[in-house]
């Protein structure tokens, strides 16, 4: 009976939180079709291994770990320039002058190593705790924290550089 319950909990979670993990997948590939592919792939993996979810209260970090890994796999397999959809170009592009800085920060974020980028994304955009992030990335919590603060410094430095350049 237990696996069946797990299965149902996972299914419910997948349906209820679809927008959140879609956004996470999207943040890696920046286009709709690839993000949907990742979502589909991650769901299959999750349902195939729902037995490995020992503690149903940890379902979020359990599934996000699958999404992150699936996204990274996807990027590795499709090694090419990550492309940006038209609508994003409009938002990020130079049409509004005050968007310039955001665009640079976005660029800086994209330039970070994938693990650092994932940490920033989960911490700031998904409001996850360091502990959850450590579980998702299968890393020591201190490693995650160190990475996080290094990345923050890096982003600032890069921004300062850009400011000087202007």
């Amino acid at each position: 009976m237990k696996p069946k319950i797990n299965q149902n909990i996972v299914e419910n979670f997948l349906i209820e939180n679809r927008e959140a993990y879609y956004r996470l997948a999207y943040s890696y590939v920046h286009n709709k079709d690839d993000a949907l592919d990742i979502v589909q792939d991650a769901i299959c993996k999750a349902l195939g291994s729902s037995k490995s979810l020992n503690d149903p209260t940890a379902i979020k970090s359990w599934f996000y770990r699958i999404v992150v890994n699936t996204s990274l796999d996807f990027i590795r397999k499709n090694k090419r320039l990550v492309y940006v959809e038209d609508e994003d170009l409009e938002v990020l592009g130079p049409s509004k002058s005050d968007q310039y800085e955001d665009f640079d920060l976005q660029q800086a974020l994209e330039k970070l190593p994938t693990m650092s980028k994932t940490i920033i994304t989960l911490r700031f955009f998904e409001d996850m705790t360091f502990e959850e992030i450590a579980q998702i990335l299968d890393q020591n919590i201190n490693t995650v924290k160190t990475r996080f603060y290094t990345s923050i410094r890096k982003l600032r430095i890069e921004l300062d550089d850009i400011a000087e350049f202007h």
């Binding site: 419910n12 997948l14 879609y22 589909q40 195939g48 920060l105 700031f124």
Partner: protein, 290 residues
Amino acid sequence: MKKLYDLKNDYLKVQIPDELEFLVKKSIMKKEKNMKRKRKFLTCTASVAAAAAVFVGTINISPVAAQAMSNVPVLKDLVKVVTFREYHYEDDSHELDIKVPQINGLENSELEDILNDNYIKENEQLYKEFMEQIGNEDNLNEKYFALYTDYEVKTNTDNLLVVANHKTEIAASGYETVHYNNIDKQNKLLITLPSLFKDDSYIELISENIKSQMKEQMKADEDKSYFLENDMTDSFTSIKEDQNFYINSDGKLIISFDEYEVAPGYMGIVEFTIPTNVLQDVLESNYYIK
């Protein structure tokens, strides 16, 4: 730092495609169906192969072995359920997968004809409704939905054949139902729940037993949940007179509830095995229920 929070807004503003919901539900359904099929296939081959190996040696020696053998599909008897017809349809936003079962081998039986006719009619109706709903090529309905039906032989013993008909509809949310036909193979009868009992006191006996099973399960496992609060309007009070049920190969009565009927959606379809000693006093006989 503040700029990062602006980035967060961009992140949260990412447009959610309309097809996401459908894709998620479809992926879940597909995976579920594949797993079911895989399991069924594996258990089938394993038991048939094992039975075939010992079959020649034991069948004439021991009557016990012969009887045990009769529970193994394929080697058993001639009554079986096959796929009579399949419907399939798929476009970007709709999917239909219908399997029409057909019962074979209930010799010259009116019951077999009636049941098979019903299976065909019901599924044809579902197919027709589905195709009307999606519209035609010039005027395709843009709402996402899917419909799947499938069948399963739940019990197949010397006396009994139980065919389960599963139906799953996915639209705003997924909804799964199942209906059982309990067939007496010898007497060519369709068994109804009231026909098993002397009078209608079974309704209360079974309901009370289910309630205490629900309580026990919730106590033992906090992941489980049933609608059992006294002050809730839609909480479970009693089974229906003709509640969905089937008899398993051990002769036990299983009461089945559709998704959402007595429990939140994540519990799916729920079943309760009713101990025979609870029912013994009101049972018509022990022919089916043992």
